[in-house]
């Protein structure tokens, strides 16, 4: 009898201990997540163009952004659909690129799909020899749903949106967390620079390819 009671007591103690460890673990994870979120928000705030004194704007600029084409474009090579927006016109090209990317990150307003995963931050932008080098936070890779088509939509929505709207910029190089990456999410090569690719824009070509569309979240 005593042995049975002892065993039950031991089992209860074990369960309570495990539950305690689990609760502590969850609390620690929640704290870490909150700290990370806070750090990301602080970083985003620190990198916001408005906080930088040399970001001088002059009126508004009409830009054409490229988002994921809506479902009715299925059956063509048209991965991207244009959407016209008005954004503050930064005098410096780096800030203009940043504003274009922020508009892309905000997602489409007139249908179509998001091309850059939520939570992605633009860390740095600089221009060298007509090439815009854009450094994104790791979310652009780790939160990407993957798939060849999805990765192509992400890269070419960025490239076409930048090259089409920023005079003197002919290509884009994408970095992730400050480094060159082999691929965006396992398929598309990021170890090179990209030029505009109008063949992926809806209405730009008459090719009917029966390509079914995937849309990013």
């Amino acid at each position: 009898m005593n042995r049975k009671v002892l065993l039950i007591a031991l089992a209860v103690t074990l369960v309570l201990s495990l539950a305690g460890v689990w609760i502590l673990y969850r609390q620690e994870r929640a704290k870490q997540a909150a700290d990370r979120q806070e750090a990301q928000e602080a970083a985003a705030e620190a990198m916001a163009p408005a906080a930088t004194p040399d970001d001088v704007t002059q009126g508004e600029l009409r830009v054409k952004l490229y988002f994921r084409a809506p479902a009715q474009s299925a059956g063509t090579l048209a991965l991207l659909t244009p959407e016209v927006r008005m954004i503050p016109q930064s005098i410096r090209k780096e800030y203009l690129i940043r504003r274009i990317l922020e508009a892309l990150l905000a997602g489409p307003a007139k249908g179509g799909g998001r091309t850059i995963p939520k939570g992605t931050l633009v860390r740095q932008v600089f221009i060298t020899n007509n090439l815009a080098v854009i450094d994104f936070s790791r979310e652009i890779s780790v939160r990407h749903p993957g798939g060849v088509l999805g990765e192509m939509a992400t890269v070419y929505s960025i490239v076409n949106s930048v090259v089409d709207n920023v005079p003197g910029v002919d290509g884009v190089r994408i970095l992730v967390d400050g480094s060159e990456r082999s691929t965006l999410a396992g398929h598309l090569a990021l170890d090179r620079s990209f030029g505009a690719a109008p063949q992926f824009i809806a209405g730009a070509t008459g090719r009917d390819a029966l390509i079914q569309e995937e849309n990013l979240e």
Binding site: V148, S182, A189
Partner: protein
């Protein structure tokens, strides 16, 4: 003086011709057999099938919990079984089981074996459940960034040395790969009764480093229940493998003149 030792010493020299002839005959037979075997080996086309993902890289996952890496391997093995019926083909897989392989490791495997065709097998996935069907890809350099793809050039004793960086090996095979992708698309269009279709070219990392004609097939959408059911069906896998074999045969028959001379 006893004659026996002389007789024994003289004995081998007394019958040299039959033994020499026997040895020559054996050597000739071995040489002929080796030549025939070697000749057959070098004439065989090497096809590398690459089941995408593997190990802790599951690839896409269906709503029912099917992993892309497993479907890719099943399809690759079905295709190997089909292609192996042709004695002129030597068919190899980049992975036989559930192990992770880096993209570079896959390319090294292909390039070391001097393959005649590289065929990477994947499945597509979309957040939209209605998205369905196959997709065919080949490596396409960016038209506006062609300088990236030029050979590295250096003077060498009065002439120019041209070196193609290893990670751009596919550059010289683009026309052949595009041809293979076109054949594959056409055969699959017929198989699935599609009226039209075209493969997509893009800077795919894996294909860029492969030094032979190379294509990537997403055989269907794992996110689409009907596609998933088809991909998991052994009968459909065999039927698909037969179509892919026809595409491979058609390509190999016409592939030799396509390669660009560096």
């Amino acid at each position: 003086m006893p004659p026996a030792p002389v007789a024994r010493l003289a004995s081998p020299a007394a019958r040299p011709a039959p033994r020499l002839l026997r040895r020559l005959a054996v050597a000739a037979a071995v040489w002929l057999a080796a030549t025939a075997l070697f000749g057959q080996t070098v004439d065989r086309k090497v096809i590398i099938l690459d089941p995408g993902h593997g190990g802790d890289d599951n690839g896409a996952r269906s709503a029912a919990g099917t992993f892309e890496k497993d479907v890719n391997l099943m399809l690759a093995k079905a295709l190997r079984k089909e292609l192996s019926q042709d004695s002129q083909l030597q068919v190899l897989l980049t992975r036989e089981g559930d192990q992770r392989l880096a993209l570079e490791e896959r390319a090294i495997h292909v390039n070391r074996l001097r393959a005649d065709l590289f065929f990477s097998i994947h499945c597509a996935h979309s957040p939209q459940e209605s998205a369905a069907g196959f997709l065919v890809y080949y490596f396409q350099p960016d038209a506006d960034q062609t300088d990236t793809y030029h050979y590295l050039k250096a003077p060498l004793g009065g002439r120019e040395l041209r070196v193609l960086p290893w990670n751009l090996a596919q550059f010289q095979w683009v026309p052949a790969s595009k041809e293979m992708a076109g054949i594959l698309q056409r055969r699959l269009n017929e198989f699935y009764s599609r009226s039209s279709g075209a493969p997509m070219g893009g800077p795919l990392k894996l294909l860029a480093t492969v030094n032979c004609p190379a294509v990537l097939l997403e055989a269907g959408h794992l996110s689409n229940p009907a596609d998933e059911q088809r991909l998991d069906d052994a009968g459909h896998q065999d039927a698909l493998a037969r179509v892919l074999r026809q595409a491979v045969a058609e390509f190999l028959k016409a592939s030799e003149p396509i390669r660009e001379t560096p």
